[in-house]
Symmetry: C2
Amino acid sequence: MHRPLAHDDPTTALLALILAGGRLAPRRRLLIDCGDAVSALAAGRARWQAAGLDRRQCQALLAPDADALAHARQWLAASPQHRLISLVDDAFPALLAHAPEPPLGLFVAGDADLLWQPMVAIVGSRSATPSGQAIAGNLARQLCARQLCVASGLAAGIDAAAHRASLQVAGNSVAVVGTGLDRCYPAGHRHMQDQLVQHGAVISEYAPGTPPRAGNFPARNRLLAGLSLAVIVVEAAQRSGAMITARLASEAGREVFAVPGSPLNPLSRGCNRLLRDGAGLLESIDDLLPTLPPLLRLLGTSLPGQALDPASADTLPPVLVSGPVLDETEQRQVWQALDLIGVDLDELGQRSGLTVARLSAILLDLELAGWALQTHGRWQRAPTPPSTTASIDAG
Amino acid sequence: MHRPLAHDDPTTALLALILAGGRLAPRRRLLIDCGDAVSALAAGRARWQAAGLDRRQCQALLAPDADALAHARQWLAASPQHRLISLVDDAFPALLAHAPEPPLGLFVAGDADLLWQPMVAIVGSRSATPSGQAIAGNLARQLCARQLCVASGLAAGIDAAAHRASLQVAGNSVAVVGTGLDRCYPAGHRHMQDQLVQHGAVISEYAPGTPPRAGNFPARNRLLAGLSLAVIVVEAAQRSGAMITARLASEAGREVFAVPGSPLNPLSRGCNRLLRDGAGLLESIDDLLPTLPPLLRLLGTSLPGQALDPASADTLPPVLVSGPVLDETEQRQVWQALDLIGVDLDELGQRSGLTVARLSAILLDLELAGWALQTHGRWQRAPTPPSTTASIDAG
């Protein structure tokens, strides 16, 4: 009789759970019920079966694939930029955690903090027209100019145009891929993937070593949808991955936008179909911004350690209606420099004209008073300031 | 003191009313209140003033412009295809009569019966792209294939493409113009106008001799909207005549459709704006057909001599749900050949395989039983057949 492996190391335990393969839902149930991967593996066969794991999965937990495990551990150790974030870890992005079917963990190469930034996905056809690629590029640049992160799938066509434009303007871009992060698909995008690792992030739910498999790409789309506040479809055939991403985004409660196109362009069919079905019509990012605050609030109220209040996610933060009344000039300056999305200290310094030291002190005041909040080193206006008429106690 | 001219001739009287110019509403009130133009002119100054006519208009009725009157009469006499149809005449198209701000009369060159046929307007930019013109042409051909009449404004760009395509497939097309029918604007469209007179109709509310005036073109748009069951906008700038036509159509309770276009095409702005504002997204005529039956019913129930029932215009005729049960094979054949829009006997003969004599007899039976109706020589299914389960008394 095998006995459960005593994986004291959380990473090894999570890898074993991921590498076990098969149906995801039972493994996720086990992980969540047990609280962490080490406990999940220690729980034993009876508990595994109770969570719904089949014989093959139980067998894989008893005797994990040593080579695959070693390969994944080796990849994780190869760079400080390589991480595996467990679904039950506070660092796991809140939006994805609250979307349907979250993965057991996320492999990240690059800046994992980006996963907490407000992200908008740009998706579309691999065989996009030059116009479609130009539109995707324009939209990506507009998102970056608003300090929103551009998410896409590293595929040819629209995806590549969106990532490329983000990199060109030194904006934030995240690629969600359907292979292990030591692979690259399509192979010709290796340089782009490297650039994204360096200046953004590339993520996957698949362990290093996982080759491109057709079946994994629709699953990749659900990650893209789950991580994003909104999905923009630019040129897509009626049946395409982009349409799947749009459907999944809609099911996850995210905003779906489509760029309209001429009936003479076959790649407009999917977008025009989405418009008929109620997607927002998008010509520029200005069409999307007014829809984001409720979802930004979702992001804001689901910070680690806080319970998500789904009911509150439907109302516009009052801050959009009128700013607070501050009695200190400097506080007012800083408040005005803050946005509803996170901004780093350097940018805030430039916006406010204050020194970083002074800025930090004022931000702390604003945070204590409930006017501002900080997430992963970026500051933003609190989605629900205490009152729009009260002044702040500067003490 | 002048005394009212004793115009015994209804045409002369109506021309005098039209040529009086100035505000339209008081003259229309006078015409409708008095029942016809002869009575309106005979009514005298006190009645004219009570209807709201100003001093200048009263003066013009007392002493009409003899030259303009003679010119208009001369034009009307020049061809049997030239007509002037009074608003209070049974031949005046019902849809336009029930739209806001109908004109006092319609000058028609060509086939006046076409004004009673179901009509769809195709409008758009004068500086349309080749793609836009191709789309307008495709849509016009699709409308003609469904035996719907194509209405437009004889302008350059989209209008011309729609008229041209209709003429090419020998379909029905009506041009609504903003000048007298002895003029042509733009001058280069003289040949197209002649073709439309010969194979369709060209109409105007302005008396022969009226030159192109910028102020008359928005008014022309309201006629186009009022005559049509639906308006399709293909490529339009945000501020343009086509957008005005769309607004007027919407105000008249007509369906408004817009063809989506790329954000990179400045002439898509207007269309995409309309889509945001709730216009139907149209890629082909199939998108429009399901919306027509309620309006066809409006056309059907407002035949001369019948009262319009606005309440009934909002429900779909039951005939769309299920056809009637006929116990005679030939009746069934004819019923199946009939459409919800008018079809002529030749076409019905081809569809049913019956001789015209036999067809006429059966159509008469169907008409008497309330299953079919005839308007201006074209047959169609009655919008509200007596019952979808009863059989017809063939007697």
